[in-house]
């Protein structure tokens, strides 16, 4: 693992992984983030892992860039030696059911047409891959997962929807995601997931962390509605 540390702001450093592939970079970032978390450094206010970077925001009244850089380098060495627990990479796969019959206003036909394959092929290909959560953002609990089979890669909609329903499973280029709540959005919708992804009253509030593995499986609309009821009952 090789890391490059840059200044981000008066109280933040950004660490870039310099491996050869996106997967290796994200694994290195996950490992570094876990190593820093394991050290329980009080001065750190935020750790934001993304595709191949880690933003470290710290309390300027307790530490400075020089000290933080040293600590990050040290944790980088710990991560490289693999002494830390690579919890995320040993993680079981999060299995999520998706109803590809809903919502009625979906983009399955558009994705199929764009890639010159059938709608059934789109669903099969979307379910075949085990995805990795590369980053969280855009909205609370919104996980950027990748990468999809290139055969279903589809660019964002030309004009975003004003309302994307809660639980919408969607793709943009070779990324896939689930909208945790109703929001505007420009991704192509494939289906609906009945599982709650983000709930401030739950512990943990967010189903995902960066580095998690996710696999989708198709369900019909009857199963969807019964799972939705179950899911809402537990909230």
């Amino acid at each position: 693992m090789s890391f490059n540390i840059q200044i981000a702001s008066e109280n933040a450093l950004i660490v870039y992984s310099q491996s050869y592939s996106l997967l290796q970079n994200n694994q290195a970032i996950t490992a570094l983030s876990e190593a820093l978390l394991a050290q329980q450094i009080n001065e750190i206010l935020e750790l934001i892992p993304a595709y191949q970077s880690l933003l470290v925001v710290f309390d300027l009244t307790q530490t400075d860039h020089y000290q933080m850089q040293q600590r990050i380098k040290l944790c980088g060495q710990i991560a490289s030696q693999g002494n830390h627990k690579l919890t995320n990479d040993e993680n079981k796969v999060i299995a999520l059911p998706v109803c590809y019959e809903l919502p009625q206003d979906n983009d399955l036909a558009r994705i199929a047409m764009h890639n010159e394959i059938s709608v059934n092929d789109v669903i099969t290909l979307h379910c075949d891959v085990t995805y990795r959560v590369f980053s969280l953002g855009f909205a609370p609990g919104f996980a950027f997962m990748g990468e999809t089979d290139p055969k279903i890669a589809t660019p964002r909609l030309d004009s975003p929807r004003k309302v994307v329903p809660k639980g919408a499973v969607a793709i943009a280029d070779r990324q896939t995601a689930i909208y945790p709540n109703e929001s505007p959005g420009g991704w192509n919708i494939l289906g609906l997931c009945p599982i709650s992804l983000f709930d401030p009253n739950k512990q943990p509030a967010c189903l995902f962390t960066v580095g998690d593995l996710v696999k989708f499986s198709p369900i019909d609309s009857q199963q969807y509605h019964s799972l939705l009821r179950e899911n809402e009952g537990t909230m």
């Binding site: 840059q6 200044i7 981000a8 702001s9 008066e10 933040a12 950004i14 996106l22 206010l45 935020e46 750790l47 934001i48 892992p49 993304a50 595709y51 191949q52 970077s53 880690l54 933003l55 925001v57 300027l60 009244t61 400075d64 860039h65 590369f134 980053s135 969280l136 953002g137 855009f138 909205a139 609370p140 609990g141 919104f142 950027f144 709540n181 983000f198 401030p200 509030a205 967010c206 995902f208 962390t209 960066v210």
Partner: protein
């Protein structure tokens, strides 16, 4: 209990902001002008920023059902209590039934209302800060702005009485031009000498499209870098250069990650000033090193500490 008779265009419950949850996409939020919010809290004797209200523009009226000590800082330039014009740079003791009006905001876009002991508002993710886009915080916990008739409960300590005035040396910033100090960082090495020269020599104008999320600028676009990035964590004050070449300065309600190239981040003190600037204010960028930033901030904090101490002695 404090009741908003007129809540205005955008009044939000704020505190220090939501911290420690950006890894799951939860926005920081909090006071856009942290300095002014801190002064308001100091005036009423709070040790730190407790639950306060950020008020955009003016024409806001509220009343209290109990005696309390309040202060208003930031943009407010004409403050009326029961129709009488009062000094904005000090704490005020209110009696039950007093009616307070923010009549004018010549000192900036945003005013801060603090109360001794802070308001008593439920916390979500450790903060009562309202972030509308995330649907978190505020009176209902769901990110809703304050509306006419909304009532803010006091905490147990709201009855405390202090009498403080902001020292004369602390001036209101009401400039029509801001020189924003940028701590060089992020992808600055990807920008050519020509691009940087354009950015640091040109004057831009604050756009009406600005919000709590970001200040957008208008003017002569710079040549933007062609390289696209994987999304990465964004700091408060980050200066993004999107493909159209007009800088966007990310502020409190920014999303946690984004993929535009950035040249660094604006110093926090200058973010505060920018947050007070209406559309039409001109800005330029001044590059500084991290060492410069540390010196400026150390000096600022030393000065703030002295002001806080002296202010206490003089006013009790």
């Amino acid at each position: 209990m404090l009741t908003f008779i007129r809540a205005g265009v955008l009044s939000l419950v704020v505190d220090k902001g939501r911290q420690g949850f950006q890894n799951i996409g939860v926005t920081q939020g909090g006071p856009m002008d942290q300095s002014s919010c801190l002064w308001a809290n100091w005036l009423v004797g709070n040790q730190t920023i407790l639950a306060s209200v950020e008020i955009l523009a003016s024409d806001v009226v509220f009343t209290t059902s109990q005696p309390c000590t309040i202060a208003l800082t930031g943009g407010v330039s004409v403050l009326k209590i029961n129709q009488h014009t009062m000094n904005v740079r000090q704490s005020h003791r209110l009696r039950a039934g007093d009616k307070v009006c923010i009549a004018e905001n010549r000192f900036g876009l945003r005013s801060y209302l603090a109360i001794a002991g802070g308001f008593n508002v439920q916390q979500v993710f450790g903060s009562c800060t309202t972030v509308t886009r995330d649907g978190l915080g505020g009176l209902d916990g769901k990110g809703t702005k304050l509306a006419d008739g909304d009532q803010l409960p006091f905490s147990n300590h709201s009855l405390a009485s202090v009498n403080r005035t902001i020292p004369k040396e602390v001036s209101e910033k009401t400039s029509t031009h801001l020189s924003l100090r940028v701590i060089k960082g992020y992808q600055i090495d990807d920008f050519s000498a020509v691009q940087l020269q354009q950015l640091f020599s040109r004057t831009f104008t604050v756009s009406a499209q600005s919000s709590r999320m970001a200040v957008r600028l208008e003017g002569d676009a710079i040549i933007a870098p062609s390289r696209s990035l994987y999304s990465e964590g964004i700091t408060r004050g980050a200066v993004q250069i999107p493909p159209q070449g007009l800088p966007i300065i990310m502020l409190n309600d920014r999303q946690t990650v984004g993929g535009y190239p950035k040249i660094g981040s604006i110093l926090s003190l200058d973010c505060d000033a920018l947050a007070q600037s209406a559309a039409g204010v001109t800005v330029s960028f001044e590059p500084i090193d991290i060492q410069d930033a540390h010196n400026i901030l150390s000096l600022h904090h030393a000065r703030l500490k002295r002001w806080f101490e002296e202010g206490k002695e003089h006013n009790g």
